[in-house]
């Protein structure tokens, strides 16, 4: 196929995919139904592979489709479906506008040792140690974090700006949403990657995809046997080199009329560029030149950029107007385990399959899911954890379990979620307002959806909380509502393995329907 429309199709298709992903992550009003989100996520390679590994059903077989697609067409995934790849194309384009030099790529030798080492290490680490390297390097998860950490706050700020203006005109269709940042340290990895991916794509096209990205390298390896490829018609090629200059993967060696298929992302730019129509996309011919591996020097430019930034301070994410009781509470909350989101089954299982793509953090209408700092250990950084000082888990909601693309959070029916005990509330009487101030409060019990936290008689007319652990589901509304600082008088300790809570029993009220006014 020499058709010029291939490139146009690629651009239109990838733009739609990118807009789709952008909207899914930017959807701060939660308007997109999860079934559409799942359609979009189905073909994401790493999440789908992990889900398949966890479930073993073809319902999670999106990555197999990608593999087949790669065998047939080469790395079309990288240009058509990968949001990070498409995002880099946008960056490259802006870079080209910014400085013409950035659009003149030219042939470059591959960083063969580096890229295969990263792929091999990723596979070895993942099989022996855990998900952590995948978490760092999965392109979809990187994209998700960029959206969650950088784009969404920006979008919400714009929304708030507009909402402010509309509010002045008495229009309340847009509502103000408070932006609360994450702890500073968790920004280190997304920021480092944003700089790395940003600079590389801005100036060098798809260098990141062809050097660091393990998915790119793996699909590149498979592409070596792919059926459809970019090929040269050597008889008509004048060796003008225009194709190589336009190739953002820097994979066309025009002097040898050779395309490095392991790095070609099927963007089809070269086809349109060639004035002689010497390039086409089609079934590979037998006896085609095999690309030879280069044994030249390798620059380890990229490796150092993977290092973490040395930031150590943690931002205070508490609300500005945090309530201040007269006496500060004295007893520290003794949390033995972090609270892992519903559907996670157990901390171990959850942290093993979550790639920290942050989609659930975005989808949570209450903002209770936060990227973890050290709660799951350093290796689990950025995986979502329930933060009850910041918010609580809505009783009537299962959104996080519905959107998770890796099955780290398994789908829960609402009725099951309402009985999934992710943690248990613990009351610290010595911190409680009722004891320290001798005044009524009840904020915890008021918020409790199951009445696991209820009030019992205390001194005089006072009532004080008590917890029935077996009907507590660990939603954290009590902890969130508790007004004591710095330590809460009630807190949820996570269940390392989620339990089933007892259904709250409720007897009919003994008050009769009145027949007359009692006054």
């Amino acid at each position: 196929m020499r058709s010029h429309s291939l490139r146009t199709i690629r651009i239109i298709f990838s733009a739609l995919v990118f807009i789709g992903f952008f909207l899914v992550f930017a959807d701060f009003r939660y308007l997109i139904p999860t079934k559409y989100i799942n359609v979009l996520l189905y073909l994401q390679f790493v999440p789908s592979a992990i889900k398949f590994y966890a479930l073993g059903t073809m319902a999670a077989g999106g990555f197999i489709i990608v593999l087949v697609l790669t065998v047939l067409t080469g790395r079309t995934y990288c240009s058509f479906l990968c949001p990070l790849g498409i995002g880099q194309d946008i960056f490259s384009r802006i870079g080209g506008r910014f400085k013409k030099k950035f659009r003149r790529y030219g042939y470059r030798r591959p960083f063969t040792i580096l890229r295969y080492s990263i792929l091999a290490l990723t596979l070895i680490f993942t099989m022996t140690w855990g998900i952590y390297v995948v978490t760092l390097l999965d392109p979809y998860s990187i994209f998700g974090r960029f959206m969650t950490y950088f784009s969404k706050p920006l979008i919400i700020w714009i929304n708030n700006f507009l909402a402010g203006i509309l509010g002045k005109f008495d229009i309340y269709t847009l509502s103000n949403i408070q932006v609360k940042g994450f702890p500073l340290v968790v920004y280190s990895i997304p920021v480092a990657f944003f700089i790395l991916v940003g600079i590389l794509s801005f100036t060098k096209g798809r260098l990141y995809c062809n050097t660091v990205c393990p998915v790119g390298t793996l699909l590149g390896l498979i592409s070596k046997v792919s059926l459809f490829r970019i090929r040269f018609d050597e008889s008509s090629c004048t060796k003008c080199g225009r194709c190589a200059v336009r190739c953002k993967a820097s994979c066309i060696d025009f002097l040898k009329t050779d395309v490095d298929v392991s790095r070609c992302v099927d963007c089809f730019n070269c086809i349109n560029t060639c004035p002689e129509n010497a390039l086409s996309y089609g079934i590979v011919r037998i006896g085609n030149k095999e690309h030879k591996t280069d044994e030249g020097r390798r620059k380890m430019v990229i490796g150092s950029a993977l290092m973490l930034l040395g930031m150590s301070t943690v931002s205070k994410a508490q609300e500005k107007a945090a309530p201040k009781p007269k006496k500060p509470s004295t007893v520290k909350e003794n949390k033995t385990s972090p609270v892992c989101p519903p559907g996670g089954i157990s901390m171990e299982q959850f942290t093993r399959v979550c790639t920290a793509c942050s989609l659930c953090i975005n989808a949570c209408p209450n903002g209770v899911l936060q990227p973890s700092l050290r709660e799951y250990g350093l290796s689990g950084m950025m995986q979502p954890v329930m933060n009850y000082h910041r918010s609580f888990c809505t009783y009537n909601c299962t959104v996080c379990t519905e959107v998770c693309p890796t099955n780290a959070l398994q789908p829960l029916l609402l009725e099951a979620k309402k009985l999934t005990q992710i943690g248990k509330a613990h009351f610290i009487k010595d911190n409680c307002i009722v004891k320290t101030e001798k005044t009524n409060c009840g904020a915890c019990s008021e918020s409790c959806p199951t009445k696991a936290v209820h009030m019992i008689p205390y001194e005089g007319n006072l009532v004080i909380p008590e917890v029935t652990e077996d009907i507590c589901i660990g939603c954290g509304h009590c902890e969130y509502a508790c007004p004591t600082v710095p330590y809460k008088a009630i807190f949820v300790d996570g269940n390392p393995v989620h339990q089933v809570a007892k259904k709250p029993e409720n007897e009919k009220a003994d008050v009769k329907t009145p027949v007359d006014f009692p006054f």
Binding site: Y30, N160, G164, G167, D170, Y172, S175, N176, I177, Q178, E319, K320, A321, A322, P323, K324, P325, K326, P365, N366, T394, Y395, N396, C397, I433, E437, T439, N440, C441, G442, A443, S445, E446, S447, C448, P449, T450, K451, H454, M455, N461, V463, A481, P483, T484, P504, N506, E507, K508, A509, V511, K512, T513, P514, D516, F517, P518, F519
Partner: protein, 306 residues
């Protein structure tokens, strides 16, 4: 399914009641010039929320007594919980809708509805049925989910609460109508007129940690007081309040109380709920602070049974 049935049924009942009234003596309501209130309190029993309100407001001289032409009205129901209407944790949507209609009929320029919710505000507005009901009656349903909407005010004379942040609409509107739902409350024993104002302010945690009962009474000192309190006692949560667990917590009382004195309203409500008024500590505190009376005998109360 249950909820849908309920909505259908109650909507049907509303239409029937509404129709009955519009064929009946409803017109008189507007014909009579709003005179000085004959009654301090009107209590109605035995009807649907909207029909009871029609009767009650008529006894108070019609909505025109409280809302003048061209005024902006704030209606503050309880929308605190992500719970369906039949579970009685929020104000009855039919009642809210009916009040809005009366406001517009009295010539209100604009009617606003909001609550600073306890559960997720989007879910509360939606699942309480109030957003839909209020919008269908032409009111503006306004968010109160962000501190940006709240402005600092002073409460001179407050014992514990001297400052608060209140929603901008409380400051910008001309008439404030308080529409609490009567419920049991785990800590204060009861939530009704006075306590409903916790949904007008931003920082409730301060109240909870600084003598909740005193703060509730202190807030009633603030100059923006409700012109009218409409107590929804149709489905009354008698235990596990203020959120409730299931319908076992509900006793249908099919009642409504309209009053300009919110301390008196809370006193009457406490009696309906069957709690000792003195146990609801903020009532005697507010009474002593001169914010209203808990002495119902001193009031002119009209009681109606439908």
């Amino acid at each position: 399914m249950k909820r849908r049935d309920f909505l259908k049924k109650s909507a049907g009942a509303g239409i029937v009641a509404g129709a009955a009234i519009s064929f009946g003596g409803y017109d008189k309501l507007w014909a009579s010039t709003p005179a000085a209130n004959k009654y301090d309190m009107v209590a109605i029993m035995g009807g649907e929320p909207d029909a009871m309100f029609d009767l009650g407001i008529m006894e108070l001289g019609g909505m025109g007594t409280f809302v003048k032409k061209g005024q902006k009205v704030l209606i503050k129901p309880n929308i605190g919980w992500d719970v369906i209407p039949e579970l009685g944790a929020n104000t009855n949507p039919l009642l809210v809708k009916r009040i809005i209609k009366h406001c517009f009929d009295a010539g209100a320029k604009e009617v606003y509805v909001f609550d600073h919710t306890c559960d997720n505000w989007v879910n509360c507005y939606k699942n309480s049925g109030i957003e839909k009901a209020a919008k269908s009656a032409g009111a503006k349903v306004v968010p109160a989910n962000s501190e940006n909407y709240f402005h600092s005010i002073d409460i001179p004379g407050g014992v514990k609460l001297q400052k608060a942040k209140v929603h901008e609409l409380l400051l910008e509107t001309d008439v404030f109508i308080n529409v609490p739902v009567l419920k049991n409350h785990n800590s204060t024993r009861m939530t009704c007129c006075l306590k409903n104002n916790m949904g007008v302010v931003w920082d409730r945690g301060y109240w909870h940690s600084n003598d909740l009962n005193q703060c509730i009474a202190d807030y009633a000192l603030y100059e923006r007081k409700p012109a009218l309190n409409i107590i929804d006692a149709y489905n009354v949560m008698v235990k596990h309040g203020p959120q409730g667990v299931s319908k076992e917590d509900i006793v249908p009382m099919k009642s409504q109380i309209l009053t300009t004195d919110w301390v008196a309203g809370d006193t009457a409500a406490a009696k309906m709920l069957g709690v000792e008024v003195d146990k609801v500590e903020y009532i005697p505190i507010a009474h002593k602070m001169g914010l209203g009376t808990m002495n119902l005998e001193s009031l002119n109360i009209k009681k109606i049974k439908m």
